[in-house]
């Protein structure tokens, strides 16, 4: 076996794989943010809270209703997505004509309120949520022990990202969406219900956050602050990828997961900051982000 900078290659492969798995969460979350920003021009700071709500819906449906993980994967995005639709209709809609900052302030405030309400009710220690029976155990890959559940997270995340990209870039619905962002008045003139389209897009983006929440529930602590910790990193991912770029957010999500994984091997103390260092470097060289178009 060979070594790289004193680290055995086997250990390195393991770390890279884990980085990819963490990248899956970054990818799904930043994808949702990118879709919302790209089509609505809203910087959705509630995303972390909505991710947390996804995990909580999974926990609640198991605890109060006896509904297991697999149905929660479907149920949580619908419930939380519907909540997102309500938010868009009642509050966010009013800010489309104003500066980005207002949307940011509104969604940030909403995130604090939602997190506060959950904290009051459930405390911060977290709630137990187990790995579904079908995915317990793991595979010995020779260089590492890969839990089945983590394997499933990568697969699920890739499917979701590809599906979203496919819908937005190649279908008629996606074409309407993209056209509606470019020139809403014109698209409306063609008889397309643009406000409805935008509402549903927001609901979809929020649903993605909730899905990531359900995926995270069995492996991370389910607590009201779980999204607040993650959302800042995810925002950095979106900025590095280029605000609003769907492909950019997915690739950067996985890529930064890898970089973070490597940092955890060579200099673990810096693993919480490495993404922000990269963000600064990218912004210096390409202010619009790696995949962004300059306005």
């Amino acid at each position: 076996m060979f070594t790289i900078f004193g680290v055995p290659s086997a250990a390195l492969f393991g770390q890279l794989l884990l980085g990819l798995i963490n990248g899956s969460f970054y990818a799904i979350l930043s994808l949702g943010l990118a879709v919302i920003f790209g089509l609505l021009n809203i910087i959705n700071f509630t995303h972390g809270a909505q991710y947390m709500m996804g995990a909580f819906v999974a926990w609640m449906s198991l605890t109060y209703l006896g509904i297991g993980y697999w149905w929660a994967l479907l149920l949580a995005p619908i419930v939380v997505g519907a909540f997102g639709v309500l938010l868009e209709r009642v509050l966010i809609r009013r800010l489309y004509d104003l500066d980005h900052l207002y949307g940011l302030l509104l969604t940030f405030g909403l995130a604090l309120i939602i997190q506060g309400l959950f904290r009051n009710q459930y405390g911060v220690s977290g709630l137990p949520y187990g790995i579904p029976r079908e995915l317990t155990g793991g595979q010995n890959l020779g260089f590492m022990f890969l839990p089945n559940y983590r394997g499933w997270v990568i697969v699920a995340s890739l499917i979701v990202c590809l599906f979203t990209w496919f819908v937005i870039e190649t279908t008629k619905l996606g074409a309407y969406l993209r056209a509606a962002t470019e020139n809403p008045t014109l698209v409306q003139a063609f008889g397309v219900n643009v406000p409805l389209l935008i509402t549903l897009t927001y609901g979809f983006g929020v649903g993605l956050a909730a899905l990531a929440g359900v995926l995270a529930a069995p492996i991370y602590s389910v607590n009201p602050n779980m999204g607040a910790d993650l959302i800042i990193v995810v925002f950095a991912v979106v900025v590095i990828g280029g605000m609003g770029s769907i492909l950019g957010s997915v690739i950067t999500g996985f890529g930064l997961g890898l970089v973070e994984g490597l940092t955890k091997v060579f200099y673990p103390e810096a693993s919480a900051t490495v993404i922000f260092v990269i963000m600064v470097l990218v912004l210096l060289v390409k202010p619009a982000g790696l995949f962004g178009r300059t306005a």
Partner: protein, 399 residues
């Protein structure tokens, strides 16, 4: 009219007399009411302080006690600023709780400078009674040396002689790793590696993989709160125990056990100095606490209650809130309360009492929502805490 005037004057004179006999003290609970450590101290510690004031019947003993609270956000600079403001402007006499070791060390400095009283329940670092000890600070509940001695010692005696640490990268994690390493080496074990994890972290899988690769037979978790929950949850996912390695949760609160669920946490051993289901007294008090706070108390909450009781006793005896007199009285008087039993306070500021070695119950053995652990052993204070002879505290060396 004249008669009425005399009446008023008489009432005023009486009121003034009563006010002179009364000592007014202000107790400040300084902790994290909404962040990662809010279930460890948080509102529960405020409730505990209020319960102590009520149970002591302070008002009938000539003490007017008021409890105030603030949020230090787990940041040393914010904690120190609040402590300064409380002491200088708001008339706070005692600061209570203060989890998060880095903040506790900052408040320790400020309290000494202002010559007030700091009764710490929430923080772990043994430096509070070690190199940075202060005549104004009493470390009430637990510390890293005791956690290392009780949990670490038990693990080494069970054959866990090679260790790998996952250490939260700040004052507390470093102190816990240092003190546990000393215990391991004293008992003939060795530490073969450690990794400093950013605080707080969500994902520990990478660090767990490094710990697995080390082939150490114990993985020591020198972290707390959400970090502990996440690392245990993920260690179970990565088959750490099936691989023949043991986990040592060096600082766990019953809230963490509840968050993990008994299925994941069963069999883990950990150390506390208070467990609600320990005896009739602790059960009775904890039931009352549960009704007011909505959850069972942990050792931090219990410590706030116990320390306030002892403080009020000293104020009553001295009929004064002068920090020097009250501290001297507190240290000279043996402690005795329903939660920690009999104990004492040492010159280095260490409050001495028994420590418990607990084991998380199997799901089938648990009889209720909060029936989480059983007591494996009771370790006397002089064996659990650092002996005075080994103390690096200058207050001890001089005397």
């Amino acid at each position: 009219m004249k008669r009425w005037g005399y009446g008023v004057a008489a009432v005023l004179a009486l009121a003034a007399g009563a006010a002179q006999a009364q000592v007014a003290v202000k107790l400040g609970v300084l902790n994290d009411p909404s962040g990662v450590y809010s279930d460890i101290g948080g509102r529960g510690s405020v409730v505990a302080a209020e319960m102590a004031v009520e149970d002591f019947k302070a008002a009938s003993k000539g003490i007017k006690a008021e409890v105030v609270s603030a949020d230090h956000q787990n940041k040393p600079d914010i904690g120190a600023a609040i402590a300064r403001r409380w002491y200088d402007q708001d008339g706070v006499d005692v600061i209570l709780d203060v989890p998060t070791s880095s903040v506790a060390l900052a408040v320790n400095q400020v309290t000494r400078e202002k010559n007030k009283i700091f009764l710490n329940s929430g923080a772990a670092t043994s430096d509070l009674t070690g190199a940075q000890c202060s005549p104004n600070t009493i470390h009430w509940v637990y510390d890293t040396v005791q956690l290392a001695n009780v949990t670490g010692g038990a693990m080494v005696r069970q054959g866990g002689d090679s260790w790998f640490f996952l250490t939260a990268d700040y004052a507390f994690g470093h102190a816990l790793e240092r003190d546990t390493t000393a215990v391991i080496q004293k008992n003939g074990g060795k530490v073969i590696g450690s990794v400093k994890t950013p605080f707080p972290s969500n994902d520990f899988s990478s660090f767990i993989l490094q710990a697995q690769a080390s082939k150490a037979n114990v993985i020591g978790l020198a972290n707390a709160g959400g970090d502990t929950v996440n690392s245990i949850k993920q260690a179970s996912e990565f088959g750490v125990t099936q691989g023949g390695q043991k986990l040592a949760g060096l600082l766990m609160f019953i809230n963490d056990v509840k968050a993990l669920g008994l299925k994941t946490a069963q069999g883990l051993v950990f150390s506390e100095t208070f467990y609600w289901d320990d005896n009739d007294d602790t059960r009775a008090w904890s039931k009352r606490f549960l009704e007011r706070a909505g959850r069972m108390p942990n050792m931090t909450n219990a410590g706030v209650y116990s320390s306030v009781l002892h403080y009020l006793k000293a104020v009553e005896a001295e009929k004064s809130k002068d920090a020097g007199k009250v501290l001297a009285r507190m240290k000279a008087t043996p402690t005795d309360d329903p939660l920690f039993g009999k104990g004492s306070i040492r010159p280095d500021g260490r409050k001495m009492h028994d420590a418990l070695l607990l084991e998380v119950k199997k799901p089938e053995d648990s009889k209720g929502e909060w029936d989480l652990a059983k007591v494996l052993a009771r370790v006397p204070g002089d064996q659990a805490f650092r002996p005075l002879s080994e103390s690096p505290c200058p207050l001890v060396n001089k005397s």
